[in-house]
């Protein structure tokens, strides 16, 4: 039997699908590639590190292989006082660097040039560890934010930076982003105030260059709860957030958010076992009106997952 070979159809199919890919993949990639990273993008990727979703350095999403962000008050080498609001991003030995350090080209024109030339990120070595800062500089007459490897430019070593700062100034927001992804916060809370509204309630929508290096962006699509991109600007109370994470109904009786008490782990800050059964029983008594006050929320341990998530929440300014 003479078969129809469909040669014309097959070629037309290739042409149609190929054109569609050209328009939806290749053309946008040219535009997106030309976007220069903003200061916010540099801050975000330096505190998040390599990747917050599944990756080979953190396959079960425990927040491994993440940098910490440190609020600096004095120079770890000279001891000289630093201006308020100086932050350093500490990558201890072995911690993977984010894309902007490995491939500065993703930072876009201006930012990538300054990052390579003045920031000297090419000298950063992840086996030895490195400390980074976000700085501002002029390139071809325009001001850009860029990344500086202060281990190379000023000789700040990761251990020295960590030991020069009190514990309260160290933020584990990078590991906290992993918790945000793993716990599925983004199934209900978006990280994207919409361009068409939301300005008053949720703050300024992000700009084109605010995402270079972010992985994953985790915008979220199904908003069953308030947007969180600027949550710490609305509410920066650590106590409120702890109560809200442990049992949201403690501070917001109508909330449908799940309890995240299991992120406290087994032990509290003083090393005592947390008795969840007792807590829930006492909370139920309070709920039924048999107690005047709810039981106290345990103070989380320094290395608990909730502390990391809390640091991430408080970093969302």
């Amino acid at each position: 039997m003479a078969f129809r070979q469909y040669t014309v159809g097959a070629r037309m199919f290739g042409l149609a699908l190929g054109s569609s890919m050209m328009i939806t993949l290749f053309f946008p990639s040219i535009d997106i590639r030309n976007v220069t990273a903003t200061e916010s993008a540099l801050d975000r990727q330096l505190q998040d590190g390599w990747d917050a979703g599944f990756n080979l350095t953190d396959p079960i999403l425990k927040g491994w292989n993440k940098p910490v962000k440190v609020l600096m008050t004095k120079d770890p080498k000279t001891g000289a006082a630093l201006p308020p609001g100086t932050y350093a991003y500490v990558y201890s030995a072995g911690t993977w660097f984010p894309s902007g350090i490995i491939h500065p080209v993703i930072l876009g024109a201006g930012a990538s040039d300054l990052t390579v030339q003045k920031g000297r990120v090419g000298e950063a070595d992840n086996k030895a560890g490195a400390v980074f800062m976000v700085k501002h500089g002029m390139f071809e007459g325009q001001d850009y934010a860029y990344i500086e490897d202060v281990t190379a430019t000023q000789g700040w070593m990761p251990e020295a930076v960590l030991s020069s700062a009190p514990e309260a100034n160290v933020s584990h927001s990078g590991a906290g982003k992993t918790m945000f992804v793993r716990e599925g916060c983004w199934w209900c809370h978006t990280l994207l105030p919409e361009e068409t509204q939301d300005w008053q309630a949720f703050g300024v929508p992000p700009m084109l260059g605010d995402f270079n290096g972010a992985s994953p962006t985790s915008f979220g699509s199904d908003r069953k709860a308030p947007d969180l991109l600027h949550v710490a600007s609305r509410n920066s109370s650590r106590e409120w957030m702890l109560m809200h994470f442990f049992n949201p109904r403690l501070v917001q009786p109508h909330s449908i958010m799940p309890r995240f008490d299991y992120l406290w782990g087994d032990k509290d800050a003083s090393g005592k076992d947390i008795d969840f059964g007792k807590w829930r029983a006492e909370y139920d008594e309070y709920h039924e009106g048999k107690r005047d006050t709810p039981p106290d929320v345990p103070e989380p341990a320094k290395n608990s997952e909730i502390r990391e998530l809390l640091d991430f929440m408080l970093s969302l300014k």
Binding site: Y6, A16, D198, P216, G220, I256
Partner: protein, 469 residues
């Protein structure tokens, strides 16, 4: 079925792979909708099963989505391809053995992937491409590629001169879904970041629906309706229009999922216009199928497969009216990120596509097992549980979405929106539970069909026999 995995290809009874896929898909449908019902209960009653890592909403939501898309829908597609492709080509399936291995590896891989996702929270952080990249590679090379190979080789070895509409879609969609998987997950393979990652996430999410689920579901209807009614397809040409407009228009509007994100404006405008053009394949498909029904509308009441298929086709009308226009800037600003979208997604997957796949599984299982459906009463119960359960879900979520939209526009304190949505969350849970209940009954009905259904005489089709119970 396991005994045939190592049998010689010619010793394996015809239809084994399709039957294996059929039962697997029904079981995944029960699991997927059960998880959906459980998740919905948590949204209605937040302290239902609380304080547990494994049963946290954030660890189970994506398991529901992945179980229904890659367990139920895609396996039902594979089931349909395993028996429809050879029938249309007037030949046998190229390799029953490959089909059986395909189904076996599919079940193993999906079970493993969902277990990891559920018990450890392993997650890429990218909606719809939630699986970590090693699982994505497994899906491409051990699930999609063997399926595509079997479909393509069966079509190549056909004993008909031309290729019927259904098989164009099968052959093209199995190719396109592999491309979508490989390109859409490239942010994970190559660590692409930032807006590229955000855009490719939604490029994947859009195209896995547009180039896999929608065309294959439609292809099934192109087979079921002419086969059972006995009417020839109304127009082969309109079928052409449908096919080509899917390839050209449905593959391009990915950016309309990010209309309020800072993507290049030309891209959003282009995506929005292309999104409206999705109405071209949609209208071509719906009109072609409904016109094929001419003179046979009594079967919409009398025949279970026609009832399911036509219901699915009718649901394509509101689905595409929503889909075409809700992504334009004029409407998107109001409903973006609300329950409206959740309702729309369920209209596509639980309404439009599921109803057609259910028909294909009912028809294929009877044809291949040579057994008449055990009970039409249970079949009709299944139909009405699905239809009423889905409608309850869709209506309640659409209303909830409109409330959320109003709350968003008028900047109502968010907690007031949560309070206002509460009754609809309970309605959603009731609707989802009805669907789950209907599916358990379906599994029983299919099992009893295999065990106790009346044997169909040689040369007869299942729909030619009268229902007995």
């Amino acid at each position: 079925m396991f005994k045939y995995l190592f049998a010689k290809n010619e010793d394996i009874p015809t239809g084994s792979a399709a039957i294996y896929f059929g039962f697997s898909s029904i079981i995944w449908f029960v699991i997927g909708t059960g998880l959906g019902s459980f998740n919905a209960a948590k949204l209605g009653f937040p302290d239902f099963v609380t304080g547990s890592f494994v049963f946290a909403f954030g660890h189970m939501r994506q398991v529901h989505v992945m179980a229904v898309i890659f367990g139920w829908i895609s396996m039902a597609f594979a089931m349909a391809m395993m028996y429809i492709t050879p029938i249309i080509g007037n030949t046998k399936l190229w390799s029953e053995k490959l089909g059986l291995w395909n189904c076996f590896l599919w079940n193993v891989g999906l079970t493993l992937a969902l277990t990891l996702m559920w018990t450890f929270g392993i997650e890429s952080g990218r909606e719809y491409s939630d699986f970590p990249w090693p699982i994505d590679l497994y899906i491409v090379f051990f699930i999609l590629f063997p399926l595509a190979l079997n479909v393509w080789m069966t079509i190549k070895n056909r004993r008909t001169q031309g290729i019927y509409t259904t098989n164009w879609f099968f052959a093209a969609a199995t190719f396109m879904v592999a491309i979508v998987f490989l390109v859409g997950n490239s942010p994970e393979f190559f660590h692409l970041t930032g807006l590229t990652e955000a855009y490719l996430t939604w490029w994947f999410a859009h195209n896995v629906l547009g180039l896999w689920i929608t065309p294959v579901a439609a292809a099934i209807a192109y087979y079921t309706i002419p086969k059972v009614t006995g009417n020839p397809l109304y127009s082969h040409r309109i079928g052409h229009l449908h096919f080509w407009s899917v390839v050209v228009f449905y593959s391009t509007p990915a950016a309309h999922h990010l209309m309020s994100a800072p993507l290049p404006e030309w891209l959003k405008s282009f995506a929005s216009v292309e999104g409206v053009l999705i109405l071209v394949p949609a209208i071509a498909f719906v009109s072609n199928i409904l016109l094929t029904m001419q003179g046979k509308w009594h079967m919409f009441v009398e025949n279970l497969e026609i009832k399911f298929t036509v219901t699915g086709v009718l649901m394509a009308i509101p689905l595409n009216m929503q889909g075409g226009f809700q992504q334009t800037r004029a409407i998107n600003w109001y409903i973006h990120g609300t329950g409206w979208i959740v309702a729309h997604a369920h209209l596509a997957l639980l309404g439009f596509s599921t109803f057609m796949e259910v028909a294909a599984v009912y028809l294929g299982m009877q044809t291949l097992m040579r057994r008449k459906l055990y009970s039409i009463a249970l079949g009709n119960f299944h139909y009405w549980m699905l239809l009423i359960g889905f409608s309850t879900y869709w209506i309640s979520m659409t209303i909830a979405g409109l409330i959320q939209g109003a709350g968003k526009i008028y900047e109502v304190p968010y907690i007031d929106v949560v309070v206002a949505e509460h009754p609809y969350m309970i309605a959603r849970w009731i609707g989802g539970t009805m669907v789950f209940t209907g599916n358990i009954v379906w599994l029983y009905n299919m099992w009893m069909t295999a065990r106790a259904g009346t044997v169909i005489p040689a040369g007869r089709q299942p729909h030619e026999l009268a229902y007995e119970r």
